[in-house]
Assembly symmetry: C2
Homo-oligomer: 374 residues x 2
């Protein structure tokens, strides 16, 4: 954590393939490639060589074929911007296999530049009027339904006691359910259900798109009365996520979806560890909730990776608020007790298609879901 870290340097923990000697050689290369990207022998002594080039802080064996190396970088190399921070952490080295980013360790001087989630766990709980229990999320789908059909589903889901009804991450601005019509109809449907139930269900339309379109959609969603936003940083950028989160004209909780980010995590020896990517980076960028595929679903995330993400959403991070872990993907009602056991109550449980089981209505399935967490 940030305690004891010098104000002016941040640390990155890398897991490097090879024995300790090999890993050390790679680490020396990382120190140069990720900063000055310049032949070391041409660097004259002085500030650039002493301060700007990364510095190996610790090397320890990890297993028979990997070592864990901690490298520190001058905070100024990040320009105090999220995009450039990611660039120093893993930019060019993303192209070299055998190196995985495991953890970021940022000093308060750098953390102070990132706003993080506007709501965070406590804020979202207050927004939803649910101070203690696990929260429930589901998704409007399938793509291809009309805005009216999706709104009908939203009504039933809200009636059944879901807290957050998000667009499927594939709903953009397609002709079948244009964004503005969809948002207007779904907000109205959820409001109608809330008047009947007394619940405070919110609808989270998907605003992932190019920056102008995303900002326009987010502003429209706010005006129309949506209660949150869904955003996919893999498609539209962590920088845009940070901008949406910090925009005082929007001020809505943001759920981050993992689509198009999978290549960072599919190879165990390369990329970025689940906890750093879906936990730390999402949170730095301002996601109030981080959706990720749960273990035992249809994606190959294992239990340890999922619990590490959940831990990272609440690990100390300067003044940055904790976000909600939001496991989903191929989940079903009968797994809820197991999930509560694994994650505790500070979680948003996401069940999508699994609520559309035959043999019971959608409303009834949502009620069963709700009864499992109260």
């Amino acid at each position: 954590m940030a305690d004891g870290l010098p104000r002016d340097r941040f640390r990155v923990v890398y897991r490097i393939a090879g024995d300790e000697r090999q890993a050390l050689a790679v680490a020396r290369d990382i120190c140069v490639e990720q900063t000055v990207e310049f032949p070391s022998e041409l660097l004259t002594a002085g500030r650039v060589r002493e301060e700007i080039v990364g510095r190996i802080e610790a090397v320890e064996p990890c297993d028979a074929s990997h070592a864990r190396v901690t490298i520190s970088y001058a905070a100024e190399t990040s320009g105090f911007e999220l995009t450039q921070l990611l660039n120093v952490v893993f930019g060019n080295y993303s192209m070299k296999p055998g190196v995985r980013v495991e953890w970021l360790d940022l000093p308060d001087a750098l953390l102070g530049r990132f706003a993080g989630p506007r709501f965070g766990r406590a804020g979202l709980r207050s927004w939803l009027g649910a101070p203690v229990r696990a929260l429930l999320c589901t998704a409007l789908k399938p793509m291809g339904l009309s805005a009216s059909e999706l709104a009908d589903l939203a009504y039933q889901m809200a009636l059944g006691g879901i807290d957050v009804i998000k667009d499927d991450h594939g709903l953009a601005n397609q002709p079948s359910a244009p964004f503005e019509e969809r948002v207007s109809r779904c907000v109205a449907a959820v409001d109608r259900a809330n008047r009947e139930t007394g619940f405070r269900c919110i609808y989270a339309p998907n605003v992932a798109a190019g920056p102008d379109a995303a900002l326009q959609r987010a502003q429209f969603a706010k005006r129309a009365g949506a209660g949150a936003l869904l955003f996919s940083p893999g498609l539209a950028g962590f920088g845009l996520l940070a901008q949406l989160a910090a925009d005082d004209a929007i001020t809505l909780p943001i759920l981050s979806h993992p689509t198009f980010l999978g290549s960072f995590v599919t190879s165990p020896d390369s990329g970025i560890a689940h906890a750093a990517l879906f936990g730390q980076i999402n949170r730095l960028a301002g996601a109030d909730a981080s959706i990720f595929p749960n273990f035992g679903g249809r994606f190959p995330f294992d239990r340890d990776a999922c619990l590490a993400i959940a831990a990272a959403t609440a690990a100390p991070l300067g003044g940055i608020k904790p976000s909600f872990p939001t496991p989903g993907g191929g989940m079903s009602l009968n797994r809820v007790p197991e999930l509560l056991d694994a994650y505790g109550r500070d979680v948003i449980l996401l069940i999508g298609g699994g609520l559309h089981q035959t043999g019971s209505t959608l409303v009834e399935n949502c009620r069963k879901f709700r009864h499992q967490v109260v």
Copy 2:
């Protein structure tokens, strides 16, 4: 290519691990996961099932352990937006190993929605006054130098006959060389050299950042007289790249840098093939030049992958202009003949640190570089 493709569907070629039977099962899953993401058995007959779910168009063995499967999707699933197109192509499936996107095949009805590069090969050649020869690029580095020191380097590089002097991709808005001061000084330095040489060298400052900062920096660069922009879609998004390329208040050629995109290509069985990512997607997003690590440099891109990228920058793509392949990364002067032999003259050759060899001045090394291509 797009010839013969129905107006309303686009095709994606996937390379899938497994024998033909296994690959077919995965392909059926892709058809659902990338579109409706809904239990197949719950999809009633009708438009969603017939049109929206992906459709397997062809399966062929690829090698003993892989098959190549072509899947078509309704153009409307993309919402005619780049971010959502990428989502359908590979969004959730990025999280499942064993599937690699090899090629996109888009109908004119979809291609017509993407502007692509504003300049392209012909436009950039005209902008630089170099109608035939290979073009030369180098990078201002190392990070940590002051704006004045970087401008001094730019002056020498321009004097030596470089066509495009780009910021190192790690130069953002650090205190050592703040963006606006750096741009002003480097533009002035390059202009001064151009007056002495009669050349038309241009400076490409790095504008990768969150959307607002990137747009402000691009606008400042335009006003200050920069001749191009450097942008990193891995850090800041392909959607923002498309917006910068289409912005009529900016109208500068854009060089795309591969930083933070490496995880898509490091695993041969997952991710996105080099040609599709650095060739096709960069070009759809509007990059006039696509920088990628050359074979035999310090990154593990092989010769076939590099030549496939180069081919993709000029493959038929509706009315979208060809972009420039820009191989770089650990290159040196003595490899120029080999590179010209491999890529031909429709290339931008990027040598960074290699121009700072000892034994000769930077200006002299640039002149040697230039003499090799005229």
